[in-house]
């Protein structure tokens, strides 16, 4: 042992502070044993204990009449009628993916899928939200390719379609990529089960893969500290995914639930048996005994601590009545899944760990869960905010707008994501009726007329400039994406990716973001039913952009009414829902400031500054109501929200996906070049591009009056070019190649 490690007390090596160590001693009334220390260190880690977020998260709205299960379980569950319910959850796997992108992302998918079938739901679809650094750098390319293929390989093998997602490239993620995986599942309401241990004397059954040394302290420790050189040493703890075993585990668990053989079910994620067992006991208000000598091992010579905290993948923990055990074993056997009784439910209120006959640890269950320490770090607005929010001088805009547009549409953040989704099976289960390439994916629900819309959205750059507004926009954009397909937003699952929460500046970002999310969700009346917090996304002391990602699900009563992004028929009118961004009488500086935080400013002028666009929640609701009502009345041929890249990019996307042109006349003062540029590229919120038949314009106007939303007719679908006033004139065919092949040429 080297000198340094000998001098550092063991608790500190495990990441506990001296006051935390003392608190453990007080709880136990003695010095903790090795096993106990290992267990506390993980349960009180940020990842399991939510020490820096628990109090803030309470601000989020989480209830509504159809919410069957809010935050606190493996996944949130909502009632969608006709006896069916949907489980939904998102989770980060940022740190494991930064160490080993393929396996990190693959096991991220594996983990979130287990959360879903742990609720009794059959996994129905997955999404992902990704962030990397500059994709022209070899390491970033390697991470990006590895993550995409890891997500694909795991999900494809399981037969769970990956139907949507988002990816952005910003320098701030260079040392710390983000990989957020989201899954939803469907269940008959009667099959809903929770990870709430019950029934004194019931047995605890471990199902799935054998336990090895992989990922000892992996996810929880990795996710609870910043990246630095010592990470190298942690490498061997990489966990490898085995999607084949997971697939069998899904089938076995759902069959066990259909046969009513389980009293509780939970997955094993970070901190393995430790967190699963203690959280199940804690929710049920009972005690639990675990005998590590019963756990089937993959490697010889594992210590009780190692067995308790191993993060071997593809394992589930169930609580079973003794008389059911043989039937449970029979079902597992059919699917080739080992199932072993490793403990029992007790009335002690303690988690007692045995190694055969010998008791090697005994801890009050709630001391591991509810009583984990809480820290409230004083939030202080970071220095950088004032600096970056200032808008610099008005630059000289490039004259050639066609070239500018070409550059934008071929840039990493705006180009087609086809390279990604072609590697994902997005059709298995034959429910995907709006494929990737629209604002949200839409699934039909077999046996009903209904459909589900799914999206995940975040905007790190906006949140960096203004975390409150940026997060509100993330919620609004997700809702807008759901609405653009004709669905009504139902629920949010959120993944909060931030830097080191012990720093007051990060604490400020985090609180502002939650305030923004809470206010927006309350306004739209969309409950947050599950989520995940990922802190310590820093490398060498530098934090990522604060990046809350918003996963959202919406419901269509009639899936036949779904609407997609692409323009359809020549002659259709093109309408802008919402308003033009500029108003008469503004100075050039005022107009220019509307480009704050935009893709245009970043891609063309390499500037990340200003304030993100403003969001007026009432205006947003009215715009959404107009779009949604029009779709429900069946009068829209296409709908697409305006977001990254602004009006012109949204128009071009509808052309590119539809393989058809458009002619647009914008009402702007011809002589003001600043105004034109800003109108084309600003990212003002609460807007959609929709198209419809001329005969339906009257009806559309009626709806707009009813809901009080603005719109204007701006052009017509047709031809093979996008023409905007005399400023833009590009061939759709010629734009298609750079747009479609941008990622290919980046990674090849």
């Amino acid at each position: 042992m080297s000198k340094t490690t000998r001098d550092v007390p063991k608790y500190q090596q495990l990441g506990l502070t001296s006051s935390e160590y003392e608190a453990i001693g007080r709880t136990l009334g003695r010095e903790p044993e090795d096993v106990e220390l290992a267990i506390y260190s993980l349960m009180w880690s940020e990842h399991c204990g939510y020490k820096h977020s628990r109090s803030t998260l309470k601000k989020l709205p989480t209830t509504k009449d159809y919410v069957l299960q809010g935050p606190g379980e493996n996944a949130g569950v909502i009632d969608i009628g006709e006896g069916k319910a949907i489980a939904i959850k998102i989770e980060s796997h940022n740190h494991p993916s930064a160490v080993e992108p393929f396996q990190g992302a693959a096991t991220g998918v594996g983990g979130i899928v287990r959360d879903i079938f742990a609720m009794g739901a059959r996994p129905l679809a997955s999404l992902n939200s990704l962030r990397f650094g500059d994709p022209t750098k070899p390491r970033q390319k390697y991470l990006f390719e590895g993550v995409v293929s890891g997500i694909g390989s795991y999900g494809n093998c399981l037969g769970v379609p990956t139907v949507a997602g988002e990816v952005y490239f910003e320098d701030s993620y260079e040392g710390n990529c983000l990989v957020n995986a989201m899954t939803i599942g469907i269940l008959p309401k009667s099959r809903l089960i929770t990870a709430k241990a019950k029934g004194i004397g019931n047995l605890v059954v471990l199902m799935g893969s054998k336990t090895g040394r992989d990922g000892i302290g992996g996810a929880s420790v990795l996710a609870s500290q910043e990246f630095d050189e010592t990470l190298q040493e942690k490498r061997p703890s990489v966990q490898v995914g085995d999607p084949f075993t997971e697939k069998l585990l899904i089938e076995a668990c759902l069959e066990l639930l259909d046969k009513n053989l389980l009293a509780a079910l939970g997955d094993l994620g970070a901190a393995g048996i430790t967190s699963s067992a203690s959280e199940m006991a804690s929710r049920g208000g009972v005690g639990i005994d675990i005998d590590v000598s019963k756990v089937p091992l993959r490697e010889p010579g594992m210590s009780p601590s190692e067995i308790m905290i191993s993060e071997s993948q593809e394992r589930m923990l169930a609580v079973v009545e003794p008389k059911m055990v043989s039937e449970v074993e029979a079902v597992c056997n059919k699917w080739g899944i080992p199932a072993t009784v490793v403990g029992k439910i007790t009335e002690t209120g303690k988690m007692d760990v045995y190694d055969g006959k010998e008791k090697v640890g005994s801890m009050p269950v709630i001391s591991l869960t509810d009583e984990a320490p809480i820290y409230d770090i004083e939030p202080i607005m970071p220095e950088y905010i004032k600096e970056v929010q200032k808008m610099g001088d008005v630059p000289t805009f490039p004259e050639d707008m066609n070239a500018t547009l070409l550059k934008m549409i071929g840039s990493p953040n705006l180009c087609s994501r086809g390279w990604i989704w072609r590697q994902y099976d997005h059709q298995v289960q034959t429910n995907t009726v709006v494929l990737p390439g629209s604002d949200s994916a839409v699934l039909r629900l077999k046996g009903t007329k209904k459909g589900l819309a799914l999206t995940v959205d975040g905007n790190g750059r906006y949140c960096y400039l203004d975390p409150f507004m940026g997060t509100q926009i993330a919620v609004a954009e997700a809702a807008r994406n759901i609405v653009a397909t004709g669905a009504t937003p139902m629920a949010v699952t959120d993944c909060l990716n931030f830097g080191n929460p012990e720093k007051s500046g990060i604490s400020w970002q985090f609180r502002k973001a939650i305030d923004g999310m809470a206010q927006a969700c309350r306004h739209f009346d969309i409950p947050v039913v599950s989520g995940n917090v990922s802190f310590y996304n820093e490398s060498f002391g530098k934090a990522i952009y604060p990046t809350p990602t918003v996963g959202m699900i919406g419901l269509l009563d009639d899936v036949e009414k779904r609407t997609t992004t692409p323009f359809k028929d020549a002659g259709d009118l093109i309408l802008l829902i919402g308003q033009m961004a500029t108003v008469d009488g503004q100075s050039d500086e005022e107009i220019f400031s509307l480009l704050g935080g935009s893709e245009y400013l970043k891609t063309i002028h390499k500037r990340i500054e200003g304030l993100p666009p403003e969001l007026d929640l009432d205006l947003e609701s009215r715009s959404q109501d107009l779009c949604l009502e029009a779709i429900k009345n069946g009068i829209l041929s296409s709908a697409h929200d305006i977001s990254d890249g602004g009006l012109v990019v949204a128009l071009l996307e509808s052309c590119l996906y539809g393989d058809i042109g458009a002619k647009i006349e914008l009402a702007v003062e011809e002589e003001s070049f600043v105004k034109i540029v800003v109108e084309l590229f600003n990212e003002a919120q609460s807007r959609f591009i929709v198209s419809l038949k001329e005969k339906d314009l009257g009806e559309f106007g009626e709806i707009s009056k009813e809901v009080g939303a603005d719109f204007m007719v701006i052009g017509k679908v047709g031809g093979d070019r996008l023409i905007i006033n005399d400023k833009i004139d590009v061939s759709i065919k010629e734009m298609k190649k750079p747009w479609e092949e941008a990622i290919d040429s980046l990674v090849e």
Binding site: S149, G152, S153, N156, C157, L158, G159, D242, P243, F244, T245, K247, L248, W335, G336, W421, R422, Q423, Y424, D425, H426, Q427, V428, Q429, T430, V433, L435, R444, K446, V559, E560
Partner: protein, 231 residues
Amino acid sequence: MKAGVVIFPGSNCETDTYDALNYLGFNTEYIWHRDSSLHKVDLVILPGGFSYGDYLRCGAVARFSEIMEEISRFADSGGLVIGICNGFQILLEAGLLPGAMLHNKSLKFICQTVNLRVENNTLPFTNQCGAGEILRIPINHYEGNYFIDDEGLKELEDNSQVVLRYVDENGEATADAAPNGALANIAGLTNKSGNVFGLMPHPERAVEEILGSVDGAKLFLSAKISKEAVS
């Protein structure tokens, strides 16, 4: 007509196939890989998925399943067998169809809809298609780069065993039209006697308007009609 969809550990298109067949009016049953009988079905379908995780090689382990012996006997006696994607790979590994699959030439998984030209419309799987008709059906695989030696290829072509070929929008079997690099653009083929059919595309994903194409239905319906004509 009674169809059986075989479930191997790791199959994941069995439900899709089952739903598609029922939608098309078949009377469909699942067959478990450890069953020793085919439940008197008229058509056996080996669905897509990742049997045994596709570890080692696709289909390499599944071919030893108990049910495969029955399927061999069934095929030998002229019974209709369709292997879709992983099912095709299993049939190749089992030697019920000639050739083998290699990694896609891009070394990437590919999920997209392709154009397929019907090369032989006299089979029990294609009699509802026109000669040279172009079908639009999704593919979804990592190992669909079909290979067979020169002699084998000649035999396939001579016997009109090639059923489907990847083609471009103009119906030409150009090299670029096979996204996976398949030899001679082969997407689907039969055995010599024309009763065992393997194909990489997923016809069960193209049987309803809402899924974007109904071209896959033609392949299943062909089997149904040819069976009804016999009985």
